[in-house]
Symmetry: D2
Subunit: 302 residues, 4 copies
């Protein structure tokens, strides 16, 4: 299985505060018809930090049944403790996950020196039955993993890639240049998906791909065909929606946009909230703008 | 029970990676002989983020048995989700905790607007069987709760205090001035314990109080007796040790210092580490300096 | 001359965009009747960065004539380059300044390592005909000078003090403890004036002292008399006005408040602006509240 | 004159602390033989903050004589005050500058709200006799100008472009998409030069172009010819040197590298320093690596 392409960090549907697993299945049925290369289960956008241990298992179970073998099933398994991460990684490995995404531990920020993080990832990689990818997401963790450390980690045979959500293309570029050949570098920030591909990223794990999977896939297809201007234009079209469902309105906004797009979004868990009712109109506009952009040339000015 | 005085956020002892509850009991026996007014169980320094659900329960059980009724038993119960926080708070309430310390949720930093945090604390307070205190610790969470929000929250009868670990005395001062009379404001940063008392804090929840409880208590006693110069001098004496066991060497350093002081420190859980062997000497020197300072006047230059 | 007490970083009056030196004289006449111990000329609040070389000289000339010998005349002379700082410091020395305040150079933040800053201050001190004080103001410079570096600098006979505007009382406390006996530590942030005195500061250089000099002086007087509760209460009363004329409304707000208080404030230089007209009401309320507080006991709740 | 291509922010040569204008002329003679499209005089790397008013004029004079009419002469004219900026901009206009680069004022960071910055740039543009470009450089100013504000400013006929040194490609991409057609967007960070071109930047104003101008020009040439892999490889080759002469060793490192490359670098002004002697070896290695990269295919792994 080639680790590349567009994958959504899937949201976790709730109804009346409880897991709505049937809704999750429905979402998968729709997503499976698109060009998505796989899925990230229990990522940040999956509200993994709001799920208890049992709920996480259920989400993995249902996902495993819903994801065809031809698509990647990546599961977020990072916990604050090294042993907890190893245990949970092997648990999802047994349940059929293809690979695991391990976030940098971060609670004790001052203690998370490069060597401490390096040792953590090596320990997890040594004991994990499936390949692991590093998850670098400074906006949530307050921790950034330097390219030099990533490069050293890429030498380990069981550390197979990274999702870098810093949005820092200079850093992504250095990671790609310094890391071992074959190390899979995904970008985790949709507004820089196109430039990330330009500097050599293999794909994107993008929140907005929950809403408009095919448009995200199309950016990569255009890039692969050498149609740079078209890819860049589609990217510019996508960016406002991508920002609205992440930095601007958070997971509440992402779920609201999914509802608009025919998926089940529903409510996030408190303390998260859905945005005000009026945001609906804005998201609809951004959504339609994104959908229409392939035939709409007015934004191409390069 | 009056909510004030010095309390350590107790460390959680491990041996071979497992809970060492007998060691915890031993530590309590020593601490109980000091002037500490109570204990914070499952705080940051208790490595709560590295404990699974069962382990947390065990630590609370043993603590309940070890803490005399005359001393405060506060338990850290904050989780990322509102419902999870409520459930765990009521669980420890049933087990006999006097009050709960609820950290600001923080993973989705961008979404944790003042109103979201306000609603979270109100929801927890409404459903909790015991009084709750707010835990503001920007260095770990990347989130700061503004004094105005704290003041509004202090109006709720079940929100009885705050532990502010920002180290920001201007902020602490405003919280004290703006909040409801009787709201218990603790400082959570030992290097500013004395100035915090000056601006009206009722006490301190201090990592270094795991190591030198009586010296911390002594600062507050001197302050209460109006011996400002002595209190200030003792504070100056304590600060280097206080920084060494927090910002400088983290929980590994704190546990190493506890071992030096006759408590059981032991190893932290990975990814945390003990500091290098040489640090032992430095900690010993800082420890002895702190212990000796009451009779040593050379540092008084005010 | 003893370096201590309350000093305002005086504002620079403009009319129609030009220096209004007669207004400056008038302000001095009023200030001179208060208990202020001296003045900081060409500080941040003097909009020094908006004055050209000639204008600076004129402001120093008029200030020298207006400041009685019994009060301290401190002049801000820090420039980005070491040589420029030395030249300007000696120029104001010749014009009669008592001492100079030298801000940390900061444009090339990444290059301003501790050793570089240390060497800069030593070079200035070596060549300066008057004593210099270090000016640490991270909110403007993005640079913080660590207490250990300040302590080393305090050993130089011509480095006689510091104005620390970080608002960080822990840091101020360490500076005071670590630095040479006799080194004059001023706090530069009015909301923490009282706690700064508690940890041993000799005085404050406070923007709000342009508006309510006597109330600031009164805090220090009460502190010196051991009237801690009164001092603390007056501080709490002063804080909202102090924040309004700095972080909230900037120099435009400070000048508006001066106009309300019977001083000449006038307009700041663009790009700075006066706040909206409505702010006038808010400032008036905060001003009256501060003035009335000595006889008003309702805020004392400690 | 088309505003695009590669321009170095030229360094200012000093000997014994004084301007060495003959050395500047020599540097221009060498640079003029390369494919550089123009020069930025008195930029950050020109140590403009260390020059007095007279020195600035001299540097502009010599530059005007040395720069052929076929190349762009851009001059950094931004000062903290609006009026000062206007005055200096018109002074250099009269001396023959083609356009001016105006940095965001930044000393009073808290007051530099979007509207204040917008009004500043509009006021300068209204009164300037030459076109101005905005200079956004958060790492020095602590201020970032949001893409929406830049877009609005781009509507003014006399605001003709921007140098964005944030290194943030997502932001650069948005600026390009949102701003008026014909608005010239330069990137100011060499490690992201290639991705900046991918998202539509017209060129780069790059410190490292002082040292290896032709290699920088070559990246843009390759990009223009559609040779993406070659451009990306050359970029990867250039990045270590580009970082060494900026973030890692600052202007001292840049000048040392210029000396190695056959230009006159010399010493920066204090407080800046040259790096330790040993850095020479590292810079030489990075320099040779960059020079050799066109024929060296081992780094191409894409």
């Amino acid at each position: 299985m080639k680790l590349s392409g567009v994958m959504p960090p899937i949201t976790t549907p709730f109804q009346n505060g409880r897991l709505a697993l049937d809704k999750l299945k429905m979402n998968f049925q729709k997503w499976n018809k698109t060009g998505l290369s796989g899925y990230l289960v229990l990522g940040s956008n999956g509200e993994a930090v709001y799920l208890n241990e049992k709920e996480k298992i259920k989400v993995v179970e249902v996902s495993r049944k819903s994801i065809p073998k031809s698509k990647i099933m990546m599961v977020g398994t990072g916990m604050e403790s090294t042993d907890g991460t190893i245990r949970f990684t092997n648990q999802v490995a047994k349940m059929g996950a293809d690979c695991a995404l391990v976030v940098t531990p971060s609670y004790f920020k001052g203690s998370m020196k490069p060597q401490v993080l390096y040792d953590h990832f090596i320990a997890v990689a040594e004991s994990s039955r499936i390949g692991i990818l590093i998850y670098n997401v400074p906006q949530f963790t307050g921790i950034n993993l330097e390219p030099e450390v990533v490069a050293k980690l890429s030498e380990h045979p069981n550390i197979i890639g990274i999702k870098d959500s810093s949005g820092n293309i200079g850093q992504l570029s250095e990671i790609i240049h310094l890391s071992k050949k074959g190390f899979s570098v995904f970008v985790g920030s949709a507004p820089v998906f196109f430039p990330a591909l330009c500097v050599g990223a293999v794909g994107g794990i993008l929140a907005v791909a929950n809403v408009v999977p095919q448009e995200c896939v199309q950016i990569q297809n255009l890039f692969n065909e050498g149609k740079m201007n078209e890819a860049r234009t589609l990217q510019a079209q996508l960016t406002p929606l991508a920002k609205a469902v992440t930095t601007k309105y958070g997971i509440g906004g992402l779920k609201m946009a999914m509802d608009l797009a025919g998926y089940f979004g529903g409510d996030p868990r408190p303390p998260l909230k859905k945005p005000e009712k009026e945001v609906d109109e804005e998201l609809k506009r951004l959504f339609l703008q994104t959908k229409s952009c392939q035939s709409d040339q007015k934004y191409i000015k390069f």
